[in-house]
């Protein structure tokens, strides 16, 4: 199996990035079946429709940079380099899962590519990312921290405190709002009285940008600028990626609360289609290539599922290991 680091390098090309987005979609689509067959427990949160944000971020950051991300973390994990086996294995509670089967869908991690265990508490990843950035600053290396969170999370106290502190400390950190218009079953306008969340940066005299989250090239451009700004010691940025999730909030959610027609409109701007269309237009890909790519990925994901389902759960001693350093 290729390592996460090698998988990360594959994002260096446009085709590699398209491929990763297609893979993410395929992996996430397989989860419902795994769930129906009783392999997945608790809650899972799909990011389909939002793949360009994760893959865009992952293709800009270095593996030595660190990302904190939410329970809606499959896409980020796969983008950063975790294998389909690592993600699906975790969701199915197998020892080959990226957290050894101990975390589940909401807690994916891979230290080799800078993914801290994903955060199941809204807003919790922001202060931690600030600490990561602070460590980089104190160590005087040029790593950056990047934290991904949703529109709804901009109403939690940790958002406010962290942005203010990051600004005062001029931390090398990028705050990325994936504004998918909903926090659970609540449309953003019902929870937040402003429409451009990036404007909240003004309260902290922070650099801000709004970006089309469906267009991976736009995402890359915006993240790159923020990362360069941070690496150069100029401090944090707040980036709002306007995007949409095609599924419900979590496994059990039929998303009946959507504004009528909204989903269809957004599906017209599927980030996978946009990226593929661009490659086709450039002459770097044919429709046939694309179909082949999809089917290759389908096979790869199917194999990953086979591997996962044939693999073991964590052993009983895992339960008592890594609880603390002092008390084994």
């Amino acid at each position: 199996m290729t390592t996460s680091l090698v998988r990360r390098q594959a994002l260096n090309t446009e085709l590699g990035r398209l491929e990763r987005m297609l893979e993410i979609r395929a992996v996430e689509e397989s989860i419902q079946t795994l769930y129906n067959d009783g392999h997945v427990r608790g809650s899972t949160h799909l990011a389909n429709g939002q793949e360009a944000v994760s893959v865009g971020i992952a293709s800009v950051l270095r593996p030595t940079d660190v990302v904190t991300c939410t329970y809606r973390g499959h896409a980020a994990a796969l983008a950063l380099g975790v294998s389909p086996e690592g993600v699906l294995g975790e969701i199915c509670g197998r020892v080959i899962g990226c957290s050894g089967g101990m975390g589940g869908s909401m807690h994916l991690m891979d230290a080799s590519v800078g993914l801290m265990p994903t955060f199941a508490i809204v807003g919790a990843g922001l202060p931690v990312a600030a600490g990561v950035a602070l460590a980089a600053k104190l160590k005087k290396n040029d790593s950056v921290a990047l934290t991904i969170f949703g529109d709804g999370s901009t109403n939690i106290g940790a958002f406010h405190e962290t942005l203010n502190m990051a600004s005062i400390f001029k931390l090398p950190i990028i705050f990325v709002i994936e504004n998918n218009l909903y926090g659970e079953y609540t449309r953003i306008n019902l929870s937040t009285p402003i429409s451009d969340l990036a404007d909240r940066a003004d309260s902290y005299a922070m650099r801000k940008e709004i970006v089309d989250g469906q267009d991976i090239d736009a995402v890359i451009k915006s993240i790159s600028a923020a990362v360069d700004f941070a690496r150069a010691g100029n401090g944090p940025s707040l980036i709002e990626a306007k995007t949409y999730r095609f599924s419900g909030h979590s496994r059990a959610d039929p998303a009946t609360y959507r504004t009528p027609g909204e989903l269809d409109e957004w599906k017209k701007r599927d980030p996978l289609d946009i990226a593929a269309a661009k490659l086709i237009k450039q002459g770097d890909l044919t429709e046939k290539d694309l179909e082949e790519l999809k089917s290759t990925i389908g096979v790869r994901v199917a194999k990953a599922i086979e591997v996962v389902l044939a693999s073991e759960g964590p052993s009983l001693d895992s339960l008592l290991q890594h609880v603390s350093a002092s008390r084994k």
Partner: protein
């Protein structure tokens, strides 16, 4: 008497209180849609948006708003969705709301109910599966209940809402789907602070709460070597000392079955108090059967093993009765 699921008992209790008392209202994230466990389903349709209030994701703000509204004579029922979420807002309950009565010499009361899903067993991982009763201990301004059945959910939740102090109601998520008969109306109300003797027995008193009531019962029913008086505490803070003492005075033995970790578990309080009150009357040391000292694992087999199972309870109690000593927990053998 109606058969309903525990989550329906939540809805019924809320509905009955909303109906009978105009100062009652609900507040929380996505409670209008029923929430992840459908435990508030249908209420917004019935009572409207003024009494079933969806909030932004701002636990500090809306828990605190519950405190403030309660101090003004309302009876807010605030949902925390998962009890872990109160970790970003605990101050408002424990350091603010719980102390107003005292600081205001009774001028401000805080009749606030906090509902939250709690407990392990469904694969929600370590940040969505704890009980966390310890966060509410040692604060005499707060009560805490953990219902074990549709009936006790109904009865305790209604009492919580009627209480003139903050009450935390931990709704075990593994029990939401369980069915049982429920007496509704005044007759179905269960007072806070009263335990329920689930079964009469002679050899040992088992003190349990929430999910472990079922574990204890299954343990007892699976064997015939010993008979247990199972006490469902129902209220953990303040717990019913009288009922527990009466039973242990009779059986001479106390076993506490707890869902959380051994260290810091609530059972220490039961055990400690029983010994100080019933010194000289015990036939064996009080014994605690708990989960190990570890976060809650996701993988199904491990999560199952993490929780005390009926078989484990049987083996522990049988050993206690046979040896007169506290048997070692299963994880002792695994320690490095």
């Amino acid at each position: 008497m109606t058969v309903m699921r525990t989550r329906q008992a939540v809805i019924q209790a809320l509905s009955d209180e909303l109906e009978s008392d105009p100062t009652v209202f609900l507040m929380g994230e996505d409670i209008g849609s029923g929430g992840p466990f459908k435990a508030t389903e249908g209420l917004i349709e019935k009572f409207g948006e003024e009494r079933v209030i969806d909030t932004p994701i701002s636990e500090m703000a809306f828990l605190g708003a519950g405190v403030g509204a309660a101090a003004m004579g309302m009876r807010p029922v605030v949902e925390m969705m998962f009890i872990e979420f109160i970790g970003v807002a605990l101050d408002q309950l424990t350091t603010q709301g719980a102390f107003y009565r005292y600081l205001s010499r009774g001028a401000y009361e805080v009749p606030l109910t906090i509902r939250a899903a709690a407990g392990a067993g469904l694969g929600f991982g370590c940040q969505h599966s704890q009980i966390l009763d310890q966060w509410f201990r040692g604060n005499a301004g707060i009560s805490l209940v953990i219902p074990s059945s549709p009936q006790s959910m109904y009865g305790l939740l209604r009492s919580a809402i009627r209480s003139n102090d903050p009450v935390v109601v931990l709704e075990h998520k593994a029990l939401y789907g369980e069915r049982g008969e429920v007496v509704t109306g005044e007759a179905g109300i269960i007072p806070i602070g009263k335990a329920n003797v689930v079964s009469q027995g002679t050899d040992v008193t088992i003190v349990a709460i929430g999910s472990t009531v079922h574990t204890a019962r299954a343990a007892m029913e699976s064997q015939s070597e010993w008979s247990a008086e199972i006490i469902d505490l129902q209220t953990l803070i303040p717990w019913d000392k009288e009922t527990v003492m009466k039973s242990v005075a009779k059986t001479g033995r106390l076993v506490v079955v707890e869902e959380s970790s051994y260290s810091g578990g609530w059972g220490t309080e039961i055990s400690s108090e029983v010994v100080s009150q019933l010194w000289g009357q015990l036939k064996a040391p009080p014994h605690r059967i708990t989960s190990p000292d570890a976060p809650i694992p996701y993988a199904q087999e491990l999560e199952k093993r993490y929780l005390p199972s009926p078989e484990y309870v049987v083996s522990q109690i049988t050993a206690l009765l046979k040896t007169g000593k506290c048997p070692a927990p299963w994880w002792e053998g695994f320690k490095s």
